[in-house]
C-alpha cells in the first residue's frame, strides 16, 4: 500500500496554492498605489458644450481677478495650485490676471482692507469655491477585495462641486454655475490589469488608466471656466453699453 502518494499530492497542491497566493500578493505589493484605477465622471455642468477656444486670445486687456476659496474638497495647497493654474489659463488667453488666494478663510471673513484692494483693480472677478458633496467607501467591495486578494475591486468614491461665480467691478453677478463631478477609485490588481489590457484596444480619448481621469477633469474644468468667463465678458459689455441708456430712460 502506498500511503505517501495522496499526502505528497496534497502537500504539493498546498504549496502550489501558497505559491500562487504569494505571487499574487507580491504583484499587489509591487504595484502598490499603482493598482488604483481612478475614474472621473462629469455629472452636471462639466460636460456642457464649449464653443470658446481656450488657446485663443479671448480676454485681451481684460483685468481678471481669480479668487479661490478653499473648502472641504481641496486643501490649502491644492487651492493655491488651482488658483495658479486658472490664472495661467486666462493669462494665456490675454487677460491681465491677479490671483487672490484667501487660504483658510471664507470670503465673508476677508478683511475690509483686502476687499477694497481687490475691487478697484479689476474688470471681472472669478470666484471659485470647492466643496465635497458626498464621500463613500463601499464596505462590501473592500471585504470582497480582501477576500479575493484584490482580484475584485475595492471601491471608494466622492462627488465634488466647483461653484463658480463671475462678477463685474461693482460686484454685480454676471454668471454663476455649479460644476459637479464624481471620482471613483477602484483598488486592486484585478481591475487594474483588466483596464490596462482593455485600454490597449481603446482609442486614446477612451482610455481609463495612465492618469486619464486627471486629464479629462482638467480639460472639462478649464474649458467650462473659459466659456463661463467669456459669457460673463459679453454680459459685462452689454451692461456697459446699456448703462448710459438706462440712466437716461428710467426715471
Amino acid at each position: 500500500m502506498n500511503l505517501e502518494g495522496p499526502t505528497v499530492s496534497a502537500a504539493n497542491q498546498s504549496l502550489s496554492t501558497i505559491a500562487s497566493v504569494g505571487v499574487w500578493l507580491a504583484l499587489v505589493l509591487a504595484c502598490g498605489s499603482g493598482c488604483i484605477v481612478r475614474v472621473y465622471q462629469p455629472m452636471s455642468g462639466l460636460h456642457d458644450p464649449i464653443v470658446v477656444d481656450p488657446r485663443a486670445p479671448n480676454f485681451k486687456d481684460v483685468r481678471l481677478t481669480v479668487h479661490c476659496v478653499p473648502g472641504d474638497y481641496l486643501t490649502r495647497s491644492e487651492t493655491s495650485a488651482l488658483c495658479r493654474k486658472v490664472g495661467t489659463l486666462f493669462e494665456n488667453q490675454g487677460a491681465v490676471v491677479r490671483t487672490v488666494d484667501s487660504v483658510g478663510r471664507a470670503d465673508d471673513e476677508l478683511q475690509d482692507g483686502e476687499k477694497r484692494a481687490i475691487e478697484p483693480t479689476t474688470d471681472l472677478t472669478l470666484e471659485l469655491r470647492s466643496r465635497k458633496v458626498h464621500k463613500s467607501n463601499h464596505p462590501l467591495s473592500w471585504a470582497l477585495t480582501i477576500a479575493s486578494f484584490t482580484a475584485l475591486p475595492g471601491v471608494s468614491e466622492y462627488t465634488f462641486a466647483q461653484d463658480v461665480s463671475i462678477r463685474d467691478e461693482s460686484g454685480f453677478l454676471l454668471v454663476s454655475d455649479s460644476l459637479k463631478g464624481r471620482v471613483i477609485r477602484r483598488f486592486g490588481f484585478g481591475p487594474w490589469l483588466g483596464n490596462a489590457l482593455a485600454d490597449i484596444a481603446k482609442e486614446k480619448g477612451e482610455r481609463i488608466t495612465g492618469g486619464a481621469s486627471d486629464r479629462d477633469l482638467s480639460e472639462d474644468m478649464y474649458g467650462q471656466l473659459s466659456q463661463m468667463t467669456f459669457n460673463a465678458k459679453m454680459q459685462w459689455e452689454v451692461l456697459r453699453e446699456s448703462a448710459p441708456v438706462r440712466s437716461s430712460e428710467v426715471p
Binding site: S16, G190, G205
Partner: protein, 212 residues
C-alpha cells in the same frame, strides 16, 4: 489559483452594478451623454417611486446615497455645440427675458413682437417661439408680426459694430413704420459666435435698451 480564477469577476462586477461611471465596458462617451445628480434616498424615492427605496423612518443599517442620471435628449455631436448650448438653456433664459420686461409697466398695453438674431434659421425660430411663449406667460399681448427693414438699411446696419447696429436697427424700425407707438420689440441676440449665452434688447418708440 482561486484568486486568478476570480479575475473575470473584476470585469463583470462594474458592468452589472449599474454605475454610470466609465468602466471596462461602459465608455466615457456614454457617460458623457448623461446628466446626473446625487440625491438622498428620500429625494430619489420621491422622484423615482418604485425604483428607489426611501430610507426607513428609523434610518437604514448603512448610509445610502443615490446617483440619478437622465440621458440627454440629443446625443452629443448631433447638433453644433453652440446650438446645443443655446437650446439647452433656452427655456430658462426666455423666462428671464420675459421677467425682465416686467420692469416696464408702461409697456403693459403694448403689442409685443419678437425677433431673434442668430445665424441658424432653425434655431432662430425656436428662440423666437420660446420668447413669445414666455412673454405670453407674463400676460403680454404677443404678435407674430415681424418688423421689416429696407435692403439699404440692412446693408448699412450689418456693417456696423453690434454696439451701434442694434440701436440703429431700432431707429429704422420705428422710422419706417414697422414698429408703431404701441409696439414693443423684444430682440433676442447672440452677439458673438463664441458665446453660449443669449442677450435681450428692447426697442420701443425707436429707443434701444439692453435688458440682459
Amino acid at each position: 489559483m482561486v484568486s486568478m480564477l476570480m479575475v473575470p469577476f473584476a470585469f463583470v462586477l462594474p458592468i452589472f452594478s449599474g454605475d454610470p461611471a466609465p468602466s471596462l465596458l461602459r465608455s466615457k462617451a456614454y457617460s458623457r451623454t448623461l446628466d446626473c445628480e446625487r440625491l438622498s434616498p428620500q429625494e430619489g424615492a420621491e422622484r423615482r417611486p418604485g425604483q428607489i427605496i426611501a430610507a426607513k423612518p428609523r434610518g437604514d443599517f448603512v448610509e445610502r446615497s443615490v446617483v440619478v442620471c437622465a440621458e440627454r435628449l440629443v446625443r452629443p455631436g448631433v447638433r453644433p455645440p453652440r446650438d446645443e448650448a443655446i437650446l439647452a438653456e433656452l427655456d430658462a433664459r426666455s423666462a428671464e427675458f420675459a421677467a425682465a420686461t416686467s420692469g416696464r409697466p408702461d409697456l403693459e398695453d403694448h403689442t409685443w413682437l419678437v425677433e431673434a438674431y442668430y445665424p441658424s434659421a432653425q434655431v432662430s425660430a425656436k428662440i423666437s417661439f420660446a420668447a413669445k411663449n414666455a412673454l405670453m406667460g407674463q400676460g403680454r399681448s404677443v404678435s407674430d408680426r415681424t418688423p421689416i427693414l429696407a435692403a439699404d438699411d440692412i446693408l448699412v446696419i450689418t456693417r456696423m459694430a453690434p454696439k451701434d447696429a442694434y440701436p440703429a436697427a431700432c431707429q429704422r424700425y420705428f422710422a419706417n413704420g414697422s414698429l408703431g407707438d404701441n409696439d414693443a420689440l423684444l430682440a433676442v441676440v447672440s452677439r458673438d459666435p463664441q458665446e453660449t449665452m443669449l442677450h435681450a434688447g428692447l426697442c420701443t418708440s425707436g429707443v434701444w435698451t439692453w435688458l440682459k
